[in-house]
């Protein structure tokens, strides 16, 4: 797996959603990702204020 979220760290702030260029993310009770849309660009990882997302670029 190359996109991992630590839901214990996540603050449900939606920062990752706001920077995702492909609308792959959505914030409900947790952040959910549409794998088909995600380009593994890593921008969500960079923006996250609390280091909850880790993207290992392919």
């Amino acid at each position: 797996m190359t996109w991992i979220i630590n839901i214990n760290k996540c603050m449900r702030c939606g920062g990752c959603v706001s920077v995702c260029p492909t609308a792959a993310l959505e914030l409900r009770d947790n952040v959910i990702r549409d794998e088909k849309l995600c380009k593994l660009c890593g921008l969500c990882d960079q923006a996250c204020p609390v280091d909850a997302i880790k993207v290992n670029k392919p």
């Binding site: 603050m11 449900r12 702030c13 939606g14 920062g15 990752c16 959603v17 706001s18 920077v19 995702c20 260029p21 492909t22 609308a23 792959a24 993310l25 959505e26 914030l27 409900r28 921008l43 960079q46 923006a47 996250c48 204020p49 609390v50 280091d51």
Partner: protein, 387 residues
């Protein structure tokens, strides 16, 4: 079929709803959070002058009144800028609910805990309503126009108009609401430093004698805001001795104003269109204004029974004329300030007079600012850039 459905009950959504309802249109607002306004994602600062748009704010929404701002240079020296009109630190949880109540009083309907999962679209390519979920039940709501007031955190703006926030144009923020901290309570405290908060700043917004929102925003990077906050705490025992009673995070757009905010049957407003002041990251006032401006144009369009992109684009024109061009200049100023070293910031705080700061934060009278900068040899380059 109702006239307008609004996604998101933040200030943009509820202020838009209120105006539409006052003009006699049927409006529903859906908010995914279980409680409107909570958790807050905000330092809660608002200028008193914002009441010109939002109306008189009831006392119960106000945690603390401000008479000005204390601006700290990296070397610790500070400057007090006293505003002719002051400001407030709000209780957003109360304020956002008040705005919702105002919309409801005007005739709108607002429903919390309701997630909008998708949009309805007709064969001509017009958006015609939303799909939603309330208490586990799915439903559809048809409307003549859909307003996206979701803040920056929704994929809807990206799906419909391709709008998202460029990562280098957001400030990645952490904020602790703290008690038992010591500071002058009737001033907001802003700490400028490239070491403590690259591109952004540290803020202490008092909410009473010993309570404050202590926050920090930075350009997104590997080192996270929490790590920077630890360093600020080391230098500020008067703050770090306090207890953390709430933690908030968020990314606030500080640029990337959207040129085209409409399409057939669809309008973006508030932070969803990155309507935020690019210098201080304040978005409440801009959300209120853009929600109201959108409502004015949508109302005209509904009356003429024409919600085409062409008809709705009057909102683009109006917003850019009243707010966009100004905020664009503020963004330019932020780009200039970003280039300042800590030594430049020290010189700047020394060179500025309190009156200058106020103009400065508004992004007004840049030539005056440039003249001030000219007084310090190190800052001449930056002054030239402004002129």
């Amino acid at each position: 079929m109702i006239d307008a459905v609004i996604v998101g009950a933040g200030p943009a959504g509820t202020c838009c709803a209120k105006k539409l309802a006052e003009a006699g249109f049927s409006v529903k607002v859906y908010e995914k959070r279980a409680e409107i306004g909570a958790p807050k994602r905000c330092g809660e600062g608002l200028s008193e002058a914002s009441q010109n748009f939002v109306g008189k704010i009831p006392e119960r929404c106000i945690a603390q009144r401000m008479k000005g701002a204390r601006l700290y240079a990296p070397n610790g020296r500070y400057l007090d800028a006293i505003l002719t009109e002051g400001g407030f630190i709000l209780e957003r949880k109360v304020f956002d609910k008040w705005l919702a109540e105002e919309a409801i009083k005007a005739g709108a309907s607002v429903q919390a805990n309701t997630f909008v999962s998708g949009l309805l679209k007709d064969s001509k390519g017009y958006y015609t309503g939303v799909k939603g979920e309330f208490m586990g039940n799915e439903f559809e709501e048809k409307a003549r126009v859909v307003i996206c007031a979701t803040g920056a955190e929704s994929p809807i703006r990206t799906q419909v108009l391709g709008v998202y926030s460029k990562v280098n144009l957001v400030d990645s923020c952490i904020q602790y609401e703290m008690t038992n901290v010591d500071m002058v309570p009737d001033m907001i405290h802003i700490y400028l430093s490239n070491i403590l908060a690259p591109r952004g700043y540290v803020w202490v917004f008092p909410k009473g004698e010993h309570r404050a929102n202590v926050g920090l925003g930075i350009v997104p990077q590997e080192k996270k805001p929490g790590a920077y906050m630890e360093e600020f705490f080391k230098e500020h025992p008067e703050i770090s001795k306090g207890s953390i009673i709430e933690v908030n995070a968020g990314c606030v757009p500080v640029g990337g104003l959207v040129k085209d905010m409409v399409t057939n049957g669809f309008v973006l407003c508030g932070e969803a269109a990155n309507h935020v002041n690019p210098i201080h990251g304040g978005g409440i006032k801009e959300a209120v204004i853009s929600g109201q401006m959108a409502a004015d144009v949508i109302g005209e369009c509904l009356k003429k029974n024409d919600v085409s992109k062409t008809a709705l684009s009057k909102y683009n024109d109006d917003w850019w004329e009243l707010r966009g061009n100004h905020l664009k200049r503020v963004e330019k100023l932020r780009e200039t300030l970003e280039k300042l070293s800590d030594q430049d910031l020290n010189d700047l705080v020394d060179a500025l007079k309190p009156e200058d700061i106020i103009e400065f934060a508004r992004g007004a009278k840049l030539s005056i600012l440039a003249k001030v900068l000219m007084r310090k040899p190190r800052l001449v380059g930056i002054a030239m850039h402004l002129l």
